[in-house]
């Protein structure tokens, strides 16, 4: 073959296969949408999942504040769409209507007092006999208190939008929730995908080969399944986590990689059992026998003949595993074994806020709502896909 012809052949080959993979991708997306939107649960779940995906991608840019900047003067601000603040010397207090009224009337209300107490921790709190004195040109006041130098209270300093309130370090909870989505979703998704990959290779290979190999692999899988999921996760994480990143450039992501690998290994036994049983069933099906009679290789039969028939199961399995993996990863965060602070983590946010449950519940409710809505969305979507694809309602494992 002359070389221009060869080049032409290669060119058309590349164009064709690119076109083919694009159209395959398009077909995949169409199929997925058909399954996802085929049922009510899917129609509710998909938008929730998409919203979370959107936040995971754009969250850090959407966040109104830095998720990690500490503002001691804005500690424990309750959720509000527009919170005004007053400056008290170098401290700032929330400007509720009562605060302003108290200043106008020259009365120091309980609320004002407690506001000062929080805003100026370290300074002595206002006492009963503190008083607001002269109104100076309507833009600042002076608070006097016996034995203490008068505070000057300046005009309204500005307004902040702490939609979900602030935490014990004065960090904006909303921004933290937005920024926390990415690592959780990315790590969970990668973990689930890795688990699917490992489980598929091990399960299909072992099932197709059969015999002694299959026997041994399945014994190991059984032993792994003798551990409850979270326990297995902890053990693998502890074992893996004791070593350092093999390459320097991986250092910053090493914890995330460890969690992904752990989740992947934890999912291996369950997924490989499902894939193995699919393979065993397919092995006795006539189209696989046809392929054997054509003299196809084992790899060809597994990947070209059997795998396409397992795609629906894999889609359901992926969505189910994704919800498990979100639960596992956020639980690790809660136990302090996840991605380390200051990068926000929903599980860790809840864990750190436990001491403030009684007085500042928003610190817990925001990340709790975020995790819950994400998992509910994923579960609804997986229920929807399963119903639409006519698979049994529950898959054991």
């Amino acid at each position: 073959m002359t070389s221009p012809a060869l080049a032409g052949e290669i060119y058309t080959g590349v164009v064709r296969s690119a076109g083919a993979s694009l159209s395959a991708l398009g077909r995949g997306i169409r199929n997925f949408l058909r399954l996802a939107l085929g049922t009510t649960s899917g129609r509710i779940g998909l938008p929730i999942v998409l919203a979370h995906a959107f936040v995971a991608i754009f969250g850090p840019w959407l966040a109104p504040y830095s998720p990690t900047d500490i503002r001691a003067e804005h500690q424990f601000v309750a959720p509000s769409f527009n919170q005004e603040f007053l400056s008290v010397g170098k401290y700032t207090i929330e400007a509720g209507s009562e605060t302003l009224q108290a200043l106008d009337n020259g009365v120091v209300s309980e609320e004002l007092r407690s506001g000062f107490a929080r805003a100026s921790s370290g300074l002595s709190a206002l006492t009963e006999d503190a008083a607001v004195s002269t109104v100076q040109d309507g833009s600042s006041w002076t608070i006097t208190q016996p034995g203490v130098a008068p505070y000057e209270v300046s005009t309204i300093e500005g307004s902040e939008r702490y939609w979900f309130g602030t935490d014990n370090f004065g960090r904006d909870v909303f921004s933290r929730v937005l920024s926390g989505a990415r690592s959780l979703i990315l790590i969970s998704l990668c973990g689930a995908l890795l688990g699917i990959f490992l489980g598929t290779v091990v399960g299909m290979g072992s099932g197709y080969k059969g015999g002694k190999i299959d026997e041994v692999v399945m014994r190991i899988v059984d032993a792994m399944m003798a551990f409850p999921g979270l326990l297995l996760t902890l053990l693998i994480l502890v074992t893996l986590g004791a070593r350092d990143a093999p390459w320097g450039w991986l250092d910053s992501q090493w914890e995330a990689v460890l969690i992904v690998v752990t989740v992947g290994i934890v999912f291996l036994p369950g997924i490989s059992r499902v894939m193995r049983s699919i393979t065993l069933k397919a092995k006795n099906q006539e189209f696989v026998m046809s392929a054997r009679l054509r003299g196809e290789s084992a790899a060809y039969i597994i990947f070209r003949e059997i795998l396409p028939n397992a795609m629906t199961v894999l889609a359901v399995e992926l969505s189910v595993r994704l919800s498990y993996s979100i639960l596992i990863v956020s639980s690790l965060g809660f136990l302090g074994l996840g991605v380390q602070p200051p990068s926000p983590d929903w599980g860790l946010m809840i864990s750190e806020s436990r001491g403030y449950l009684a007085d500042y519940p928003w610190m817990v409710l925001a990340p709790a709502g975020a995790i819950s809505s994400l998992v509910v969305g994923v579960n609804l979507l997986s229920d929807g896909i399963r119903q639409a694809s006519g698979l049994p309602r529950e898959i054991t494992q």
Binding site: S290, R292, R294, R304
Partner: protein
């Protein structure tokens, strides 16, 4: 059938029944316009191909149509409309006055409940009998359906019973309260032909014994001819013809019925002529489409006239109580489907065989040990095929017959190497073949192709038709991409499909089309031998005819040899030059087709032939019956492999000594039996089978 009951008001009148299911995937008009009557003491047969609304009609009579359903028309049982009944009225009716027997007895019985209590609860619900009486009645019922050991069978679980016994339990359950109407929905489909025969015999016996009407639904014309008094033919949700059984089979007044009858393979004439099967073009009118104002059969009908497309014909009397939904019933006769070729099967010259098997053996599994991996060996392997010899001649067809469990599928798979044989030789022409397909050469694989039973499963549902065919071409014919595409189109045309089908997926094709694609794939590389394992068993009779014709004409054109495996003697007779009868992994009889099917025969062959239902109401009733099923062959037989069920067992010799191989004079006909050939021929010729009692083996 007594005359007074035949004249009285019908027990059941179904009038213009329509059943529409509203499913998430669309509206399904399962039944469009079904009308039929059942009288006391009479069997009303309902026949038609799959998807024609037979079973739905049966369940509608029970008032059982789950899901969102609309029922039109009337179902009048003893003056009351079942369709209008409330839940309590229905409950009183079901199991009590109307009872049903189902298609698959294995799933129709509760797997975790002993069969006795499953029957007793019917009596407890509908009668006032005391426990003692109920138990007694249960035993009587088991006895009346000829279950061996009626006293103890009730303590068994369904999975401990064979398919035939399970169906007898279901029948006993249906008879428990002496119902007025018995509905039998394909009660023998899925059972072995020998079991089917015993169940049919029971049904015929019941008809005489109980004073009930029976509605018998089946797709099998032979079964209907055996049991029915009158027959309704259903097509696309309509009853298209209703007539007494003899009128229907001898003088049909609807073109669909004559077409169906012509699709059933008939034995060759005495002169050795084989009657070609007729071909009904097209497919059944889809249940998803609303009825047009036309005959639903018009597009497939050879005598359609212009008026047939303008007017929906009513079910009208075509003379003598013979109802037909055809505008021109007078034009209908068997000739309308074209002159059927009768080709004389010339005895092909005996040449070197294409395939020779000697002592082929296959055992499944290893010795099971008492404690999982340890302990003494307690479970021997299953002896699926034990030393089988056969030859397949060039351009000839070897038919392999036997019940399920006889080892015929194992033989087929061992030939192509899907299941490696563990002993014995196998030669393709002059080459010895390796046991497993993976170790055979490309040319050897190309020379031997296989067509499977289930067309849905033999094509990968996720890959296009193109893939199925092109892949074979590229593997075997060594064609490049472009040539193989072109050739694939030609192959599809050769099996009567449009090349446009190449880009479709198997799910978009009907069962018959799928099987033709599978055949096109098998013939892609011009093989020397095609192994067809029950290739037409899953198909409706008209589709089966198309595929059989295709295989036959292909063989005549290309001189390909076939190994054709089936449980259906009619099909074997139609297609085979040679026959191998297998039982429990042993050869019972082998030889040229006309010799094996003639006299003398091995008792097992005789029983198989006797069991096969013939689509002719005037056919002589046969008498040889086998009970039980093929045993699981874990131990070696000490005597004859068939001794346990043989109706002609001669004595202890059958249990002690393996049968001798007897050669019938006149070419390649072997019978493995203790009974001398002359004696066998004499026994079978004078039909002394009436003296043969059932061998009990259960």
């Amino acid at each position: 059938m007594s005359s007074q009951s035949a004249n009285g008001t019908p027990l059941l009148q179904v009038e213009h029944l329509g059943v529409t299911f509203f499913t998430p995937r669309g509206t399904v008009r399962a039944v469009r316009d079904a009308s039929l009557e059942v009288r006391r003491g009479e069997v009303m047969g309902v026949v038609g191909e799959s998807g024609c609304g037979k079973s739905t009609t049966a369940f509608a009579v029970m008032g059982y149509l789950p899901g969102i359903t609309q029922v039109d028309g009337k179902i009048v049982f003893e003056g009351q409309d079942v369709a209008q009944m409330g839940p309590d009225e229905l409950r009183h009716l079901r199991g009590n006055r109307i009872a049903m027997v189902y298609q698959d007895p294995a799933t129709a019985l509760n797997p975790t409940m002993r069969v006795g209590p499953q029957l007793e609860e019917v009596l407890r619900e509908h009668t006032d009998m005391a426990s003692q009486q109920i138990r007694q009645r249960t035993v009587e019922l088991f006895e009346s359906v000829r279950l061996s050991d009626p006293e103890t069978v009730g303590r068994r679980y369904p999975h401990e019973l064979s398919g035939g016994m399970q169906q007898r339990v279901v029948i006993a359950m249906a008879l428990a309260c002496d119902p007025d109407l018995l509905i039998m929905d394909e009660p023998t489909t899925g059972l072995d032909v020998t079991t089917e025969a015993t169940i049919l015999e029971l049904v015929v016996d019941l008809k005489q014994r109980i004073n009930a009407g029976i509605l018998y639904v089946s797709h099998n014309l032979g079964v209907i001819a055996t049991v029915a008094d009158r027959v309704a033919v259903m097509y696309a949700g309509e009853t298209v013809e209703e007539a007494p059984v003899r009128d229907l089979f001898k003088d049909s007044k609807h073109p669909y019925t004559t077409g169906l009858l012509n699709c059933v393979p008939k034995p060759p004439t005495d002169a050795g002529e084989v009657v070609q099967l007729s071909r009904i073009p097209g497919v059944v009118y889809s249940a998803n489409d609303p009825a047009p104002n036309a005959c639903l059969f018009v597009s497939r009908c050879p005598i359609a006239q212009e008026s047939c497309s303008r007017q929906a014909p009513p079910l009208a009397d075509a003379g003598g109580g013979h109802l037909s939904r055809c505008l021109y019933p007078g034009d209908v006769d068997t000739g309308i489907w074209g002159e059927l070729d009768t080709s004389v099967d010339t005895e092909r010259a005996r040449q070197e065989p294409v395939l020779t098997a000697t002592g082929m053996r296959r055992f499944y599994g290893n010795w099971g040990r008492k404690y999982f991996l340890f302990g003494p060996r307690v479970r021997p392997p299953v002896r699926a095929v034990t030393g089988v010899d056969f030859k397949v001649g060039l351009g000839r067809t070897l038919g392999i017959v036997g019940e399920s469990g006889s080892g015929k599928t194992t033989v087929a798979r061992a030939i192509v190497g899907l299941v490696p044989r563990d002993q014995g030789g196998l030669q393709l022409q002059d080459q010895e073949l390796a046991p497993s397909v993976e170790s055979r050469t490309r040319d050897q694989r190309a020379a031997m192709r296989m067509v499977f039973q289930n067309p849905q499963a033999s094509l990968n549902p996720k890959l296009s038709i193109r893939h199925a065919i092109v892949r074979s071409l590229r593997k075997f014919a060594g064609l490049n991409k472009r040539d193989s595409q072109k050739r694939a189109g030609e192959l599809l045309q050769a099996v009567g499909l449009d090349p446009g089908y190449l880009d479709r997926h198997p799910g978009e094709l009907s069962g018959g089309e799928q099987q033709r694609v599978a055949i096109a794939g098998a013939f892609a590389a011009s093989p020397d031998l095609v192994v067809a394992d029950e290739a037409v068993s899953a198909l409706d009779v008209s589709v089966q005819a198309q595929v059989l014709n295709l295989l036959r004409s292909h063989q005549q054109d290309t001189n390909t040899s076939y190994v054709f495996i089936t449980h259906d003697l009619g099909v074997v007779r139609y297609l085979s030059d040679d026959i191998l009868v297998l039982y429990a992994g042993h050869v019972a009889e082998t030889g040229p087709a006309n010799k094996v099917l003639g006299l003398p025969s091995h008792p097992y062959t005789e029983a198989l032939m006797s069991a096969a239902p013939i689509p002719d109401p005037d056919a002589e009733p046969t008498v040889i019956r086998l009970s039980g099923a093929v045993p699981t062959m874990r131990a070696e037989f000490t005597g004859c492999f068939f001794a346990g069920r043989c109706p002609r067992k001669v004595g202890p010799v059958c249990d002690d000594t393996p049968p001798p191989e007897q050669i019938v004079p006149g070419g390649g006909h072997l019978i493995n039996c203790h009974i001398p050939l002359e004696e066998l021929a004499a026994l079978q010729a004078d039909g002394s089978g009436s003296a043969v009692t059932q061998a009990s083996a259960s």
